[in-house]
Symmetry: C2
Subunit: 334 residues, 2 copies
């Protein structure tokens, strides 16, 4: 049993490189009381990983230099000193970029067992039936209160969170327009995810496309991107619109301003609310239950893009920022 680890060696400026990490091999640690030792099967690759590498104020402490890179993952218990957990159990938790992790319960992102007997692939609990689906649910249902009569726009709509957010808004009766990069994704939003319309933010006439597909304005904006894409959408918002601010991937690599218009918030009486999974502990079981039900009933679909090998985790993160993924980006480790 060799534990390969990628530890943050320096803070990347823009793109992430394998050279930003030190590679180490060691024995896995012995299991401790109240914990399990688990072997990582899949790593969840998320925009927020990039924020954790930066020494800036954020919703969790940044990853320290010399520390194993933090990441959520799906893992198999190999040893346990925690009641209710036994070798062979599938769990998710903050495994980090390594083969073996000591995991303990606690927090919305803490150790939890993967539900069994539901006919849902385990890795889906890292995406549509886990953090990404719950984020989509929290933003659309709890923050934005989307419903019938609303026009909802989702940015980064072909991603794991975005594709779920759009489908949830549809299930709640809204008209849904997705924003994504490239004609393949735009087509996929309509044909596979059932969006009413989709527009390409890379197109020269993006603003005109968005206007043409939101003739009655925008009531709900589920925002993953920030920057010019977000500002173009805000210009289309109706009075008393709601912006569920899930993320701003456009600024995580250190480029671009973080300063956007506030006069529109005032003039249009908008509600702009930042939200994060770490505040969703109470919502989690209800949302996951609903998502599993929708998934099994075929009322919601989800995709995964899988990159093979622990040492490709930095590359997978870059691919995510390039928008090269369809749906959930995963790294297969074991």
């Amino acid at each position: 049993m060799i534990n390969r680890q990628l530890k943050l060696a320096r803070r990347p400026e823009s793109r992430v490189s394998l050279d930003d990490f030190s590679y180490e091999e060691s024995q896995p640690p012995p299991v401790e009381d109240g914990a399990v030792l688990a072997r990582t099967l899949f790593l969840s690759v998320d925009p927020t990983n990039r924020v954790w590498m930066k020494d800036v104020p954020q919703y969790m402490p940044p990853v320290a230099l010399g520390e194993v890179m933090r990441a959520g993952g799906l893992a198999e218990v190999v040893d346990s000193r925690l009641d209710g957990f036994a070798p062979g159990d599938l769990v998710f938790g903050m495994t980090g970029w390594q083969d073996y992790a000591l995991l303990r319960p606690g927090g919305a992102l803490g150790l939890a067992k993967v539900p069994t007997g539901l006919d849902v692939a385990p890795e889906r609990f890292l995406g549509i039936c886990g953090p990404n689906g719950v984020t989509a649910y929290a933003g659309m249902v709890e923050v934005a209160g989307v419903g019938e009569g609303d026009t909802a726009v989702v940015t980064a709509a072909a991603g794991s969170v975005g594709s779920a957010a759009g489908q949830i808004a549809k299930l709640r009766g809204a008209r849904v327009v997705g924003v994504a990069g490239g004609s393949d994704k735009v087509r996929m939003l309509v044909e596979r995810y059932g969006f009413d319309a989709a527009v390409d933010y890379r197109a020269d006439d993006f603003a005109e496309q968005l206007r043409a597909t939101t003739r009655e304005g925008i009531d709900v904006l589920f925002e993953n991107v920030g920057g010019a894409v977000m500002e173009t959408a805000i210009a289309r918002m109706n009075a008393r619109g709601r912006i569920a601010l899930s993320g701003m991937i456009s600024i995580y690599e250190g480029r671009g301003s973080t300063r956007y218009d506030w006069a529109s918030i005032m003039a249009k009486r908008l509600k702009v609310q930042g939200f994060n999974l770490i505040d969703c502990e109470k919502l989690w079981p209800k949302a996951v239950g609903q998502l599993v039900e929708w998934l099994r009933a075929g009322r919601i679909v989800a995709d995964e893009t899988i990159v093979d090998g622990l040492d490709r985790a930095p590359e997978a993160l870059n691919l995510l920022f390039d928008g090269a993924n369809h749906g959930k980006m995963l790294v297969r480790v074991a």
Copy 2:
């Protein structure tokens, strides 16, 4: 009966001047069916008046060139063709900068009778028991949901809206810190309006003063100012804080950026909500009833600053932007 009118002749660049208006005298119009003809007694002077003069997107149409300057006012009915209204009745409505106005019911800012028999001076229904008190109530109670355990900060705290907002937050059990300009106002906030602490935004060590008076961070920000004052407060906000965005007086005269940080909204999961009286029609009777009750019980205090003469309305507006007022700024017309 001569009707003096101030009509917007050109759009002011920064400061407002009497020269920006054309002065006209005419006969008052005849009363029309479903309306009253009313004689203006007091004009309400509000930061939003300045916005109405600008040809920019806003929550109402801007005042057109050649149109009587829009303003709320307290007036006495002199002729009526509206059921329930008779000569001598005191009313408030959008009188504008003129002696006589035709007023009709409708909307949160439409014609309404001043309640009588409550032992409350009529002009108070233009301030603490009217638009300003209801704005304060809406922001603190409905938008921010302020309560026990919260630290609430109010900017422009010595103004009509701000002084009411702070006192309402106190009545709801919060710890309240006011931000105002100059030592007189700072003293007044604590001694007269009962704020727990107050700081002077003009002081060199404003940020340090704010830090010292909000040791446990800020949970609720009732924002009237925008700009650097607001950004200093946002830097002190706690996770899941609420910003009730009532106004941004710092930008209404056309100076200063309207672009502020959004990364904090995300990182701290803040709720930022713009709100406006025009959306408060349902809240109005409940809020006014509560404010009158508090005022009569001596649980809330309010002040007025009165400038005499219709032709001094532009000057009164400038004084408001200079922060020369204590509490509600009014122009006495009749």
